[in-house]
Amino acid sequence: MKVPWTWLNEYVDLPWETQEAADRLTMAGLCVEEIRYEKLDISSVVSAKILDVKPHPTKPGQKIGLVDTGTGEFQIVSGAPGFAKGNIILVALPGATLPGGLKIEPRGLDGVVSQGMAVCSNELLNGQPPRPFEDIILLPPGTALGVSAGQLFEIDDWVMELDLTINYSHCLGILGVAMEAAALAKRPLKLPKVLEAWSWAGTYGSIKPESYDEGAPDFKIDLPEPELCPRYVGKIVENVRFAYSPVNIERRLQLAGQRPLNLVVDVTNYVMLETGQPLHAFDADRIAGNTIIVRSSKPGETILTLDDAERELPENTILITDASGPIGVAGVMGGNTTEVTEDTKRVLIESAYFDPLTVRLASQKLKLRTEAALRFEKGVDPTAQAAVAERAADLIARFSGGTPVSGYAETNHLNVEPKRIVLHMRTVERLLGETFSPATCREILERINFQVEESNADTQEAIAVTVPPRRVDIHEEVDLVEEVARHYGYDSFGTGDLSKAVPGGLTDPDLLCVDRIRDFLVSHGGLECITNSLVNPEHLACLGWESDDPRGNPVRLKHPLSSEESVLRTSLLPGLIGVAASNIRFGIQGLFIWETGRVFFPAADRLPIETRQIGLVSYGRLKPKTWLGGPEESGFYRMKGVVDSLMDLLGISDVSYLPKAGMPFHPGRSAKIVANMSTVGEIGDLHPVCLKHLDIPVPVTACWLSLEALLAVVKPKEYASLSKFMPVERDLAVIVPEEVSGGDVIDSIRKVGRHLASVILFDIWRKPPVPEGHKSLAFRLLYQPQDKTLTEEELAEDRERILEELRQRYNAVLRS
């Protein structure tokens, strides 16, 4: 909300500079986002008296006048009705500038020189030619001559931009901000006369003045659905003549972000900005049957809105109707047929209370988030309708010469009972950690127009607080604690320590383990990535996951921002492979990346299933060749080594790799990872088809592991006693047919060998003397007996046992 400084100061004399005022308001919860000095580029525009006027010799309607600026006399040509002898007007002198870069120079009009220009409001504020029926600015008689426009009007001003949270609906009018500021500054609030008479700012809300003339307005208000519109006030002003608003009003509206239109509409906007109560003005003579009926819309109903559009109305929209049909959408927009025009003589000012939620939904559906809707949907003061209508009528009458008709038409189903809340000092202390006396609380609350009584005369521990009806955000005791706190100052109480008691429970036992895995991956060269969990379904398809794969059936967002981020990831691989692809495009030679995070699968009638995964992806040269060796290339076996080491770290010993994982892996270069009889992940080089779909020009290796599955089989290590006997190393090389898998051979050696601590495959040889179609596998066996020193005989026996097993199973031959 924009708050012009001069306008604000009309209601309270603030003792501060603008910046300090902004800081104080911000620290009381009214966040001032920005303060700007709004300046119009106007120069050499001054007051001048018209000394004499004669008609233009050839141009009918144009007049030649001699004007006196106090320091000189100028000849001005003008056709404005107000350009008459004796009037004091505003003149743009030769060389004057007006907004929009308009420069005034002497000019000829059919042989008559006009040295300057008699200025209207639209020229002064917008640098635009007069609007229909717009006269030049007429200054009050007695105005000093030669005074600049900037001194005569509030043109240049500071504007505070408030970013109000939704609870401060009482500050959606400048008066509300003024009330807060007045309380902070401990200065009185100066209300406009009409509002003062209605005690608009009082604890009990607006109350009809005793001297009020009830009158008998000839208008009927029918509210058949009180839950949608419980209160509607219609105030009539007669004998209205068309006019534009005074310069100051137009400028204030401009500064507050509203476009001036005409006096009547401007006043409704002005009073809304002042009080927070939205108003609407109808041409009363165009309302059929002198009756307003407020009801909800029927299916398919339409309205012709002010912008000349035939709009279909969403169901359950609050409609203002007359005998002929809809004439307005409550809080959103007026209808075309009852609009105030140049011909309007009688105005009906609507001041109503509409159901906040219904207004909100309608304005959302119509995509018309008007200033009025924003106020109605947060809840306006339910007592202020008549007072505010009177204020508007008063202004219209004052500026346009119209006559307010005594009294107002009203139907009111609201019975606003003052809300009373007991505030216990103990509650204040319990939440704020500071002791407050009832007197301090009382002083603070009374300053913001709450009424306070001692509630418990004997104990002094509580006060009874009556809440003004405009404070729709105050429901219970804690809300009052906040009021006290924010006006006392959040920063006025100190810092405390949490009590020493340290809680048990809610420790995430997995956290340490996951952190250990992260550290392991880092120490093995992996860069952690965090990728979007919203992914492109096309990428899932590129990885070969069709509808027959759970990973091809992701959870979909109902209203995604784009199709690229429209489904929840079912795997970490699409994101990581995408990272690899973009790094390849940046010319990165090689990469080993990983991520831990959640993946999602649909569950019928329930929230999606969330499980945690680890994803690993690598490509290219991980380490360059140096004088010491290398290079180190990414690939299946390197990735597998990382997984093996990780499994070892986690104490998972029973791991096997079953050849051939499904998409997106290469069928001959991939495996399912099985631990403790269950599949915990997959590893492999990506299928060439996937690489092609994703436009990736280099081989990529990937792996995913189910973190949940790993955590389920992780075992804390149990201590094994240390052997006192020396380990012994022996080498063993066998020749086996090519199709025999090396992993099986290793498993067999482990199974039959005794006292074996490790079996390391240190060489594979496929050239002569090894026969075609065969390979030689060379192993280093490390024996670690627990209870004795192994003899040469025992070692030879073990070797024979292993060889026998390999001979039988794999047709293996000892390579000598």
Partner: protein, 344 residues
Amino acid sequence: MKHNLAEIEARILHEISEASTNDELERVRIKYLGKKGEISALLKHIGNLSPEQRPELGAAVNTLRNKVTHRIAQRKDELDTQALEESLRRDTIDVSLPGEVFEVGGLHPLTKSLREIISILSSMGFTVYESREAETDEMNFVKLNVPHGHPARDMQETFYLTDNALMRTHTSPGQIRGMLAMDGRLPVRFIVPGRVYRRDQTDASHHPVFHQVEGLAIHVDVTVKQLRGVISALMNRFFGQEVTVRLRPSYFPFTEPSCEVDISCVFCKGDGCSVCGGSGYLEVAGAGMVHPQVLRNGGYDPDEVSGFAFGFGLDRLAMLKHGIDDIRLLYGNDKRFLSQFRGI
């Protein structure tokens, strides 16, 4: 004889000094001190002398033998030292050549920042509670005092999955789930870190997926003062400098009183700069005292206990800490970016 001895001594000592290897030296030793050596022969010869001559000459030969023994040992040391020096010279390498580098990876800056936060807060007794990312409307909004149609729903553009399921827009539903998991036990003190989702178009400061760290503390005596104390300690230690914490009244449906947490700008120390928009303050969190209804929804009695809650933007903290000016860098995972955070 005596005269002879001096000659012999001079010759032997000379030969010892001439020995340039341990082998040569050994040969000299055997030649003189061995069983058949010259000095051994002299000693035998003394046995044949008259008793009058024996003592004098015996002492002289013994002196010679000791001298030679000592000198040989001395020479051995010299030769050892020479040999060692030579081997050191031989084994000298070019230490200026590059070593064998181990490629170490790195944690994502968000993970690093989160770890620091967890470690600081766990020293204050907070544990970690991981809550789900896909949530019910009930948990994400209704239980946090944001019923259907509440204007606060405008503040958070939501990704819905179905009419009732959504991607959490904040980590606050973790407050409810955590409280329910605590089952009425006291004190409650945990944080909920994790991803949150908002329907925001991506730009330098918005990403539809980002991270929050929620904190919740409930006990019989939890106050705003303690909230400030915890946040001050967290911020000071996280940024490694004294920062001023400012609590600015604000509004959240699930806290009352509510505040925004501002800290004095870590770049300009409050003087005003482009990062803080000249204000000298940075907004880093929303916080407040847990609303009584939210306490009830979590199974706690607001008349018995009170609590505070806070929610930090993890991305913002990490960006401030490392001077990252575009949130898209955090989710772009460019190696050149990630590699910069490998260090401590």
